[in-house]
Symmetry: C2
Subunit: 405 residues, 2 copies
Amino acid sequence: MVEENEILSKILRYSDPYAALEESVRVRRDGLSIGNDFYLTKHPLIVSLGKASHKMAKWAIEKFENAKVVSVSLGEKTPGVENILSTHPNVSENSVRAALRISELINSDDYDLLLFLISGGASAMVENPAIPLEDYIRINYRLIRSGLDIWKINTVRKHLSLVKGGRMFSSTKKQVVSLIVSDVPGDDVSTIGGGITAPDPTSYHDAIRIAERIGDNQLKNFLLKVQAELGETPKELKNVRNYIILNNFKVLSRLANELSNSFILGSELQGEAVEAGKFIASIVNSIHDYKVPHKSPATLLLGGEPDVTVRGKGVGGRNSELGIGFITTVRKGVNYGLIAFATDGIDGNSDYAGVSLGDMWVDEVDVKDYLESSNTYAYFEVNNRCIKTGSTGTNVNNIYIVYIK
Amino acid sequence: MVEENEILSKILRYSDPYAALEESVRVRRDGLSIGNDFYLTKHPLIVSLGKASHKMAKWAIEKFENAKVVSVSLGEKTPGVENILSTHPNVSENSVRAALRISELINSDDYDLLLFLISGGASAMVENPAIPLEDYIRINYRLIRSGLDIWKINTVRKHLSLVKGGRMFSSTKKQVVSLIVSDVPGDDVSTIGGGITAPDPTSYHDAIRIAERIGDNQLKNFLLKVQAELGETPKELKNVRNYIILNNFKVLSRLANELSNSFILGSELQGEAVEAGKFIASIVNSIHDYKVPHKSPATLLLGGEPDVTVRGKGVGGRNSELGIGFITTVRKGVNYGLIAFATDGIDGNSDYAGVSLGDMWVDEVDVKDYLESSNTYAYFEVNNRCIKTGSTGTNVNNIYIVYIK
């Protein structure tokens, strides 16, 4: 297996949004080309939003000579651009201020092309609810805990918003181009960043049915009211084009090209993280015992966003919990290496990005207390297995690399 | 995809212990050959144990002319053999009676070869504790809930037993051959059926450390007492040979040969069943979106024994819970078929063997109540998706077949 540090630097390189923009987009004096598409522009308005906003705004200000560049970030300021501070994962007054400022710039008409640079987190960072903010926050909180999938949650959100679901572009006929770093499995552009630059395939009828389903009458009444005031969301945005320039799968593919005997198991991992770790270990055991789904030595690549059910007040995240599940299930003596890494550099409520494991085989009883107190990083701290990078300025979810000798 | 009924009949055929014995063993007038090994025998003593004991005893009585055949079963009686009724998963007075009768026959010396036919469940069905039965039962209960792996649980059990860990064979120098239908991932012969015909690679020292680890002083004292009385378990059984004639992987391999575009993901699935279902669906989503780890159309084969955390008093099992996890996670519109099947015919506390699903995509909120009451078969009953076979007389764990268009 290649060195841990070498793998980590590869992951960081391949998940870097600046590099992805450089590779996907050619900026010329008179415009920009993406693949076979060309867009004329001499003085674009460029709006960078999400966890990768700083790096994407940096690319924009460096590449365009006469651009107005705005970056909505969680703190990082990019020199030469208008920086707006906002919040994530909760919508706040700052999110509203960001939305108002962007709408103002769009309405100014002082540009010939509107370029959006979108990454995960954009949804909460830019929002202007059509209902009182405190009600929106309550409804959002309820939705997140409802057991509804993200598609349905967004269906409701878009129908309570003055900016989402394409409403932000109702006042302009200019060409809009959106370059997207996706953190959503399947890369549905109407879900990434809350679908800020995508037409809305859903309707008030859909949103109201969802409100009925979770039995939230206040929400239903709000939806009826907003529908009466604003009418349906746009079902078509002829002047908007969306491009996925980077996602988890692209990172995995590039890693797979460089790692020997590698195979990608998938890039859309879901489910409880500790159980996902057991599942991955089960597959490792079968590689070891039966040479399926791949003969050994093998490098298994996987990505996605498993869940964590928080049970205690300790320090933990998806990747430390996945690591715990893995080491309780991989068969004793199987020679492996596991890197579990959050590409944004922050796993759960920890300061760590993930864990790097090998030569660990334990019983569930050994890790029970750590799991029950959601304190799984404490276990790996003792064993000196934590990875620390600090915030990386990107987000293509988590990457799991398992080497089996 | 081939028809559901056709697949089910294939699974049943390939997991049939009678057929596996016919294929693995040639019985001649003067002995039996297994692969390249030949054993002389004219009047063997044949002991069939476990969930497949009836079918294996039936094979024995049909193939051998001068054999004494004993079958320890959970109820099924095989004509022409000595039938002993026992219990599973709990050790009982019947288990002790079965052990005593088998030891008596071994000591009789009235045979020229001892042939064991072992399948899952044998461990509880034949046991003679060296400590009072009620204490053994209490300790066993504690061990199962300890979070220790099966290897460590068996380490303790073997050191409390008058028959396990090879002790049953201390009184004979005759050739012992054991033909095993494995229900244990990795096929460790010292674990399958409690390691009844395997030498014990573990020691009292190991068992006592385990007792200390779970803080059970009474257990520790029992171990010290039994050690003083019986001495160490045999570390070598020169006259015993073990053969795995059937396991989950062999069934998957034969299915894979017959199903188009198929690949085996593994045969040793562990972890919480509902989460395993989500994991499998994540992989299906990636097959659909990115053609990894296999291009579509594809048939994914998987086997093993996921866990179920029982939360309510409803009717459910591994396979119905796995099915629920799957349908909440597979992306809407992905064209799939899923068969989740317990080869012993009984999933959890239900009368069903599993579920056969397709065209179902639901939100977690839709199935929440069923999961919380552990009543997942009720969900599939309404939708007419349950598979019923009744007890099949074999056990190579569970088989999962997913077709992705």
